[in-house]
């Protein structure tokens, strides 16, 4: 055994476990955060399954034969089916029949379906019957949003197992912003959706936490090194000191926001190039609503920028309550659940699908807004993004006001967040 190892280990454990900041940050917060996250994810899965169970499937029956009736009856046993005869999928979409029938899925049983099936069961195994599934692609949905379409495809497989293998072949197409996109497999689009749902929120989480640490460290360093004390005795406006500090981090934040957007755009460009190749060269992905437009990018950038600004201002305020860098970083850590929870939850959920109270909570957390905006700019819901920006801006103004009040008084030097009795210290 190494000499002194046990004593040093015990001393270190005592030091760490007796520091309430570490105790709360490393033990209490994860104990609270992950169960909450589990509840949110459980809710997301449950909602998606429930939607799939209660989903209506609109079937356009252009065949009208015996086999098409048998097939539709089979599907009807598991899903609520609405049958429309002799029309085109585009006509159904144009007439708003999907919306009227509370459905996001359409199945086309084409003419000749029964004839092909009859020939197949008569021994012509190279003849198969085809159906096409049209799923409404929702770029703002969570990663479980395609679950309904998957269950309909599963029923086709079930029908084949019951009658004959490879009897009915299902192909997938998409309905994007009211337009039928033949041959656009929603599973390929799903990968894009997944990227949008996960990549940007993760990047935002990393960026926000990193920026807050930088800002908190910057102020705490000034306090620890007592350079702040020197600055506060200078014949300069104290608001200038605060603004100088925040502005420098804002410039860093601005550069960070642009960097994130450039990277995000590049990543989407690489991914959508592959998708565009698979669905034909005449398709404009921006018009389809698969990637944000230029104005969308601009709004997303503004949302990111102001969210960063509010986070930085809050970090400055919080670090004013600590005496050193370690304390400031621990204090700022208490904000992280407010960044992680909405970002992670919005990966799995469409905010619109949440109960009103939860929606209110998510909208009230300023750090949710870039995640909300990243989906809203794709769907073209610019109003949500703009309202989010206004809210975050108002929040930032309030925080900046608090910060300016702190800097104007002796509290910037004397304020301490006391988490335990032994933190009390007499001034020399």
């Amino acid at each position: 055994m190494l000499k002194g190892f046990t004593s040093i280990l015990v001393k270190e454990l005592k030091e760490l476990m007796r520091d309430p900041k570490i105790l709360i940050g490393m033990i209490v917060l994860p104990l609270v955060m992950f169960p909450v996250l589990g509840l949110v994810m459980g809710y997301a899965v449950e909602t998606a399954q429930s939607e799939a169970r209660h989903a209506n499937l609109v079937i356009v029956d252009n065949d009208g034969g015996e086999w098409s009736s048998t097939f539709i009856n089979y599907v009807n046993n598991s899903m609520n089916v609405v049958i429309i005869n002799n029309t085109t999928p585009q006509h159904v979409v144009d007439q708003g029949l999907l919306y009227k029938n509370n459905s996001t899925m359409l199945m086309l049983v084409p003419q000749g379906f029964s004839e092909n099936l009859t020939r197949h069961v008569s021994g012509e195994y190279n003849i198969t019957a085809r159906v096409t599934m049209y799923g409404v692609f929702n770029a703002g949905g969570g990663i479980f949003s395609g679950i309904g379409g998957a269950s309909a495809i599963g029923l086709v497989e079930g029908f084949n197992r019951l009658v004959a293998p490879n009897l009915v072949v299902a192909s997938q197409s998409s309905i994007i912003k009211g337009e039928i996109q033949e041959g656009v497999d929603s599973s390929i689009l799903g990968s894009l959706l997944l990227t949008q749902s996960i990549a940007l929120p993760i990047t935002i989480m990393i960026m926000l936490t990193y920026a807050m640490q930088i800002a908190a460290t910057s102020v705490a360093m000034e306090k620890e090194e007592k350079t702040l004390e020197t600055l506060l005795t200078m014949p300069v406006d104290r608001f200038s000191i605060l603004m100088g500090k925040v502005s420098s981090t804002v410039i860093v934040a601005g550069v960070a926001a642009v960097t994130v957007l450039v990277g995000y755009n590049y990543m989407l460009g690489s991914m959508t190039a592959g998708i565009a190749g698979s669905i034909g060269s005449g398709v404009n992905l921006v018009e389809l609503g698969l990637v944000p437009s230029m104005s969308g990018y601009l709004l997303l950038g503004i949302s990111l920028f102001f969210t960063l600004l509010s986070a930085l201002a809050l970090a400055v305020v919080m670090s004013a309550f600590s005496e050193n860098v370690r304390g400031a970083q621990a204090l700022v850590g208490y904000i992280y659940p407010l960044i992680f929870l909405p970002s992670m939850a919005l990966m799995y959920l469409d905010i619109q699908s949440l109960p009103l109270v939860l929606q209110g909570v998510f909208y009230a957390i300023p750090y949710s807004h870039p995640s909300i905006a990243s989906k809203a700019v794709v769907t073209g819901d610019y109003l949500t993004v703009i309202l989010g920006i206004v809210y975050v801006l108002a929040f930032t103004v309030v925080i900046m006001y608090v910060a300016s009040r702190l800097f104007a008084t002796e509290k910037i030097l004397t304020a301490k967040l006391r988490l335990s009795k032994d933190n009390k210290k007499q001034a020399d």
Partner: protein
């Protein structure tokens, strides 16, 4: 004659703790005045109030007739403060640090280059001023900061433990700087120190603070004679009842 510093009945309460209770003292222009006392006596609290960093619970502070409590902005134009164990910005060079501080400390029309050149001469760091402050030893850093505090020739320089933790050479250099600056430019100095020898060497007058009260004030020579003591340390021990 107008006094440089007039502190009257100064009290400061932090929650339940009375950090300072009815402290009064005066400093004449061009004088080096020392505040002496053990840790937690109230020296830094007094200094922070004189430097407009914190407000007293009651009492008045006048710096060259300027009310430091009611008009802190005007007071900040004539004072310069060196906090205890303060540092410089680690990623700025010594020169950049002095330049930055000179811009904040001086008004329009002042030649910043001249001010920084003055500071460079005071600290005697030569070419090392081109290096980042994080490469400096503790003594070099302190010399840089003392130079910063004196470079604008403030009416009142407040130095909190200016030589604390320094080796003999650096401490000696700093004491010489302070003494020379007061003599050459008439700067008034309020300093606090644990080092009784330093105080004896530097200060024209001293005040003992203990448990938030000012217990004794006078010239070092006079105090030593009054208490029949070899040095100020012995005087202090007798005054507060340790000896």
């Amino acid at each position: 004659m107008r006094l440089a510093v007039e502190v009257e009945s100064l009290t400061k309460q932090f929650g339940q703790i009375m950090a300072l209770d009815g402290v009064s003292f005066h400093i004449k222009p061009g004088e080096i005045f020392g505040l002496i006392g053990p840790n937690g006596a109230g020296k830094t609290t007094t200094i922070r109030m004189v430097c407009t960093l914190i407000k007293p619970t009651s009492g008045t502070i006048l710096i060259y007739g300027q009310d430091a409590v009611r008009a802190p902005d005007k007071t900040r134009q004539i004072i310069s403060y060196l906090p205890e164990e303060s540092g410089a910005y680690p990623n700025l060079t010594g020169w950049e640090y002095l330049e930055f501080m000179a811009k904040l400390q001086t008004g329009f029309g002042v030649n910043i280059k001249n001010v920084v050149a003055e500071a460079a001469a005071i600290c005697g760091l030569g070419d090392r001023l081109k290096d980042k402050a994080k490469t400096y030893s503790k003594g070099m850093k302190r010399r840089l900061l003392v130079a910063r505090a004196l470079m604008t020739k403030p009416k009142l320089a407040v130095l909190d433990e200016p030589t604390s933790g320094l080796d003999v050479m650096h401490a000696y250099h700093i004491r010489e700087i302070v003494k020379r600056y007061v003599k050459d430019h008439g700067v008034t100095v309020l300093l606090s120190s644990h080092n009784m020898l330093e105080v004896e060497f530097l200060c024209n007058r001293v005040a003992f603070i203990n448990k938030g009260h000012l217990v004794m004030e006078g010239e070092p020579k006079e105090l030593k004679a009054r208490y029949n003591s070899e040095n100020l340390e012995e005087v202090f021990a007798k005054v507060v009842g340790y000896a």
